[in-house]
Amino acid sequence: MTVSAYYDDIAKCNKCGFCHVACPIFRTTGHESGVARGRLALLRGIIEKRVEWNEELEDPLFTCLGCGACTTNCFGKIPTTDLVLNARAEYLDKIGKKPAHRLLFEHLLPYPKRLHVAARAVALGKNSGASKVANALGLLRIFGRDLPKAEGMVDKLPMSSFRGTVKPGVYPGTGDKLKIGYFVGCGMDVIQVQAGKATFEVLKTKAKSVTVMDNCCCGLPPYTYGDLGNTKLLARKNLDVFEKLDVDLIVTDCSSCASFLKKYPKIFKDDERDAARANKELPMIKDVVEFLYADEQDGKKSSDEAAGSYHDAHASAPQQLTGTGKGSVIVTYHDPCHAVRGQGIKDESRGILKNLPGVTFKEMAEADWCCGGAGSYALTHYDLSQKVLDRKMKNLKDTDADILVTSCPACMIQLAYGIKRHGMKTKVFHISEMLDYQEQLKARQQ
């Protein structure tokens, strides 16, 4: 659909400026092109024929992180992210698409196996220092002008992907009730392999069986690039996989995937049949953060019942996992945009972390501000993304945290890179890795 189809939404912008509050890009550049008010003004300008489609629009359209902080602060809840993404598609249509990302969207992302091979090739190059251009992120990104600078973002890449070790299929668990499907996001699969394993192990303790799914990319990367065609292609492939499964829940440990899978009905809004398919799957999709929190609450409830103190859950004695909240390890949490705004998950993560033994949870300022990673953003707009990251690092430093926890692989890369650049000692953990964090800490110290 063209920009004009969204005139009603765009006309609701009163230029009040409230979206400036937490727009990481605006707070970094101070330029109106970086914030929802400005982006919408240009779209309105296009509709009202004051502004032409030309390359001047590239920055306003492509510097958006899609983090959604503007919508949170907007009274009219104008969905700037969606409007910008749509406009990106139109921009690419009119001004032209770059071939490099096509390769990625059309030839790699739909095929997990090809992706694994490519990842391995890149890892070899990178780890041996043999190739200058090679870095694993090449798989998840749209090649941008800042690419050479982004080279150093990942030190070392796993030689084998998660599904290279744990092949798709059904694995027995020690839990008693649920059958769980584990949706493996590309980032978890080829970069955060360690975290993927942690999730797999945790799920096995909670479920009767865990199915490691043979899914492909969720479709978010082409979607953020405005490429709706390839997005739908990936989504359909995944729906096919879902429908063949015999599970009660589909859990993913990538908050970006989770939020996007939940969005499937929307991307098919002009496509009744697929929309219906997507809607049917919707209730099954869970972010691992949601899942773990609900599981813990369940556990609490049933043991409270056993203890006969059901009516006063809060006063009940600590459960086996329950920490005192005053441990020696300081932990803080970074909200991935796709968790906090994408899915409204905020208290759950804190709930989990505060309950861990030996942990002191310290909230960091602006925890829900985007880290600047935004999927491939760090690669396409390196300088800007680093400035956004600097602000995050300052807030992190103020907490003195030993561990920074989050639940999105792209955030993990970005945060770890920031920590390295700022010479800090904080470790970045996926929330799945926190359940036996002491072991994990030991492992990493070696």
């Binding site: 009163n14 230029k15 009040c16 400026g17 240009l42 502004v51 001047e56 629009l57 009274f75």
Partner: protein
């Protein structure tokens, strides 16, 4: 003109990355939050330092390019829209530079948002009082530019009351420090003039803000009404009862519904109006005040009063109020908001007028507003895609301004004039008033390059000045018709034509104030101007002729249990209110009540052509035009003869009590600073030497149920620091608890007053003693002010004192001295760069220098 080479020079100054000029960029800088027509600037620059701002302005000045300074462009009056000029975007100047909780001030870049400042000072138990609903996204520079207000301004006053000084860049690119962290520097009140000047007089880059200790607790209530006039009555009655709530905010049914449609905040949807009432202060007596308020509400036909039980409930009530503008989007895509201000008691009429206009133009309206200040915010709904709806909204907006002016109010209470209300300025100001304001602008910006063509209406085609018409709507009583004014106008006209000097006097108590003038001058006194022109105890203001003595004014106000909370240090019962204004005279209570600058709502004066000029008005909030009231305040009779002043008055405190303690100077000072920076809400904190020791005196004024507990806690602080509390006692309201001390000081042949910052009062005083030992002294710790009397003072000692005080970040003035001393010294101390600006204003408003020549700082 903006051309290639101008853009190149901008790039050289700030760096290429920080200069934008593409077509898309210009579209992005063509608007602000207002609904005035957009316009395209020529280039946008993002300077990163004050020095860069100065270089940008210097270059623009050289090239004759107009500029507009811009915070986050959330203003609602078109203030940041530029026609082909350079936009100076201040978003990169975003650092909090200094926080001094112990001296109650902070220094911030102008691009810091209001909320960022609040968050930075909160850990110290302090806050910055102005709280516009846009605080998350409006910059301190913008708050200063518009003189923004917010809910709690009812109790604490607007932005202007909380700005101590600033670093600014002038139109020709010079960096000037205006005022500073110390109170009331000599020379014209330039910072007062800058606040609310909408970027037309200079570009501020750093602001020194006053921060205030948070009070102990707060109670938030929601009062629900079936009829709007009942809510309006509650508002008047609460204030009349002598309770000053923190907030008194009203929302009508339309707004309630809009808010509830978006995110429910628990407002009853069937109510005609709700009030959000908040009281804060000491724990002691607060509950009683809340109960009293509830009682008043119920007595004025309120349906129900609910009290927030915890912070979450409190936040929810405020969330709805803060989001009220935005909630309109649930009813209509766009809105135009007016911000006229009327007398509190006339709110029902004003709202009725708004309703009629809304019907007449077919634009639905919702009202959410600062009821305690009478400051309306009618939100007129329209769809910006339909030009005819926009036009109707503009017409309705104009009609609403007319209603406000008809009801004796003003066209803008907080959002500023900008482009939007420029023509409406005629409703409330005469041609001469407006020309005078424009003169001030041109004094500081002779080439008319800073935000040109805003605020003051433009003269008719082909003319340089506006015709001297009367205001089209507002009628001001007094003025030329008041007793004694015509005669004075005649004298001044004559003096002007003969180019002879005149000096103004009240009762002559302060004829020696200011620099010694060689020029013989005719004395014009204001004693005939002794009328009370208007006294409205309901709306708590009084307009009195300049010749009315303070004592007489207090008697008049006392009849209605009110008073003017000023006790100028060296005043006698004969001193006139005109002299308070001319001298900006205050006493130690300034720290809590403010000075004349904070109590003056408006004034009238005779200018150097012998014509009347009106400034301000009589409503509680007024940002229409440049702040001429503050400019005249403290101008020592060098800009005109003040004929009358309109004061905001207060309910008399039920009780005034002081507690005193004795001990070493270190201990007295330690206790004094602790008390001054605490939330004990002392009205004055001073110390004087007594025998071999010092005596600390702390005054408290207010409700019977509160003051005793303040005294008790204050005494505890004194004891904890090791002072011997010598007891507490009631003192008379009019005199205060310091008159004896000031009388003694005034007997000395030489008297000086030094202002520094709280943290350096004692240090400064002890160093002063080393230069020359005062004969009499009073340290006003809370105001950071040193009053000292000397038997003698040499020029050399004076120089040393001057540089000492400057080192302590302050300024010092000789109030009384021998003629010989005054002849050979500038009694205002060594030159401050900002005086140049004062002199420029003087030069334009009194070109023949007939008013009190030679007495200004710098001996002008």
């Amino acid at each position: 003109m903006i051309n290639e080479s101008f853009i190149r020079s901008m790039e050289e100054i700030v760096g290429k990355e920080y200069v934008k000029h593409s077509k898309a960029d210009m579209e992005l800088y063509s608007y602000d939050a207002s609904v005035v027509p957009t316009d395209m600037p020529g280039v946008v620059v993002f300077p990163g330092t004050t020095e860069e701002v100065a270089r940008v302005l210097r270059e623009a000045h050289r090239a004759g390019v107009p500029s507009v300074s811009r915070g986050f462009a959330t203003n609602l009056s078109g203030g940041t829209i530029s026609h082909s000029g350079v936009v100076v975007a201040l978003s990169r100047l975003n650092e909090i530079l200094e926080i001094h909780p112990e001296s109650r001030y902070a220094v911030v870049h102008t691009g810091v948002t209001n909320l960022e400042l609040q968050e930075a000072v909160a850990p110290f138990g302090m806050f910055f009082a102005p709280d516009p609903a846009s605080q998350k996204v409006s910059t301190i520079g913008g708050n200063v530019g518009e003189n923004s207000g917010g809910p709690r301004c009812l109790k604490y006053g607007v932005t202007s009351n909380h700005i101590l000084g600033m670093k600014m860049v002038t139109a020709d690119g010079e960096i000037v420090d205006v005022a500073g962290p110390a109170f009331d520097p000599p020379g014209y009140d330039l910072r007062g003039l800058m606040v609310g000047s909408e970027g037309c007089l200079g570009v501020a880059t750093e602001i020194i803000v006053r921060i205030t200790p948070k009070t102990e607790s707060v109670i938030t209530m929601l009062a629900i009404y079936d009829e709007i006039p009942h809510a309006a009555r509650s508002v008047s009655e609460i204030i009349r009862a002598g309770i000053v709530p923190l907030t008194l905010e009203m929302m009508d049914n339309t707004i309630i519904k809009a808010v509830e449609m978006g995110a429910p905040c628990g407002y009853p949807q069937d109510a005609a109006a709700v009030l959000i009432i908040e009281v804060e202060g000491m724990n002691a007596g607060l509950q009683e005040q809340a109960e009293k308020i509830e009682e008043i509400c119920m007595a004025t036909q309120c349906r129900e009063v609910r009290t927030a039980k915890n912070q979450a409930e409190r936040d929810l009530l405020w969330k709805g109020r803060r989001g009220a503008f935005g909630a309109i989007c649930n009813l209509s895509p766009n809105y135009l908001v007016n911000d006229g201000c009327v007398l509190r008691s006339r709110l029902p009429e004003a709202l009725e007028g708004v309703r009629e206009i809304s019907e007449k133009y077919g634009r639905p309206v919702g009202n959410v507003f600062h009821a305690g200040d009478g400051n309306l915010h009618p939100l007129l709904m329209f769809d910006s895609r339909h030009p005819e709806e926009l036009e109707q909204a503009h017409k309705a907006g104009w009609g609403i301004m007319e209603v406000c002016a008809e009801l004796g109010g003003t066209i803008s209470g907080e959002h500023g004039v900008g482009h939007e209300k420029q023509e409406a300025m005629h409703m409330i100001f005469s041609g001469n008033d407006l020309n005078t304001q424009q003169d001030v602008k041109l004094a500081l910006d002779p080439d008319n390059l800073l935000n040109p063509g805003k605020v003051i209406p433009l003269p008719p085609e082909g003319q340089r000045r506006l015709p001297p018409s009367e205001p089209t709507i507002l009628r001001r009583p007094g003025g030329a018709a008041a007793a004694g004014v015509k005669e004075a106008m005649g004298i001044i006209k004559k003096a002007r034509s003969e180019k002879k000097a005149v000096r103004f006097a009240g009762n002559g108590t302060f004829n020696g104030i200011g620099n010694y003038s060689e020029t013989p001058a005719q004395i014009v006194d204001s004693l005939q101007m002794s009328e009370i022109i208007e006294y409205d105890n309901d709306n708590q203001f009084i307009t009195a002729g300049a010749g009315v003595t303070l004592a007489a004014l207090q008697v008049k106000l006392g009849e209605k249990n009110q008073w003017l909370p000023i006790r100028p240090s060296y005043f006698t019962t004969d001193s006139t209110t005109g002299s308070i204004v001319a001298m900006a005279a205050v006493g130690p209570e300034r720290v809590s009540y403010g000075g004349p600058r904070d109590m003056l709502l408006g004034l009238q004066y005779i200018d150097s052509t012998g014509s009347m000029v009106s400034a301000g008005g009589k409503v509680m909030k007024n940002v229409a035009g440049y702040d001429m009231t503050r400019l005249l305040n403290g101008s020592l009779g060098t800009l005109g003869l003040i004929t009358e002043a309109t004061w905001k008055v207060a309910t008399r405190p039920e009780t005034c009590r002081m507690v005193a303690a004795v001990g070493s100077h270190e201990k007295c000072y330690a206790a004094a600073t602790k008390i001054a920076n605490s939330n004990l809400l002392a009205v004055s904190v001073t110390m004087v030497p007594e025998a071999d020791n010092w005596k600390l005196v702390v005054g408290f004024e207010g409700l019977q149920i509160v003051v005793p507990s303040q005294i008790k806690r204050c005494a505890e602080v004194m004891q904890s620091i090791g002072l011997a509390v010598s007891g507490d006692s009631e003192y008379p309201l009019e005199e205060g608890c310091h008159t004896g001390a000031f009388e003694k000081i005034w007997q000395s042949p030489f008297v000086l007053q030094a202002d520094v910052i709280i943290a350096r009062v004692l240090e400064c005083y002890l160093d002063l003693e080393r230069i020359v030992r005062p004969d009499q002294v009073l340290l006003d710790v809370a105001c950071a002010r040193i009053h000292a009397g000397f038997v003698d003072l040499t020029a050399e000692q004076w120089k040393k004192i001057d540089s000492l005080v400057k080192r302590c970040q302050g300024h010092v003035v000789v109030l009384k001295a021998s003629e010989a001393f005054r002849k050979s010294n500038d009694v205002f101390g060594s030159t401050r760069p900002e005086w140049k600006l004062s002199h420029a204003i003087k030069g334009v408003l009194d070109p023949d220098r007939i008013f009190a020549p030679g007495i200004l700082p710098g001996r002008v």
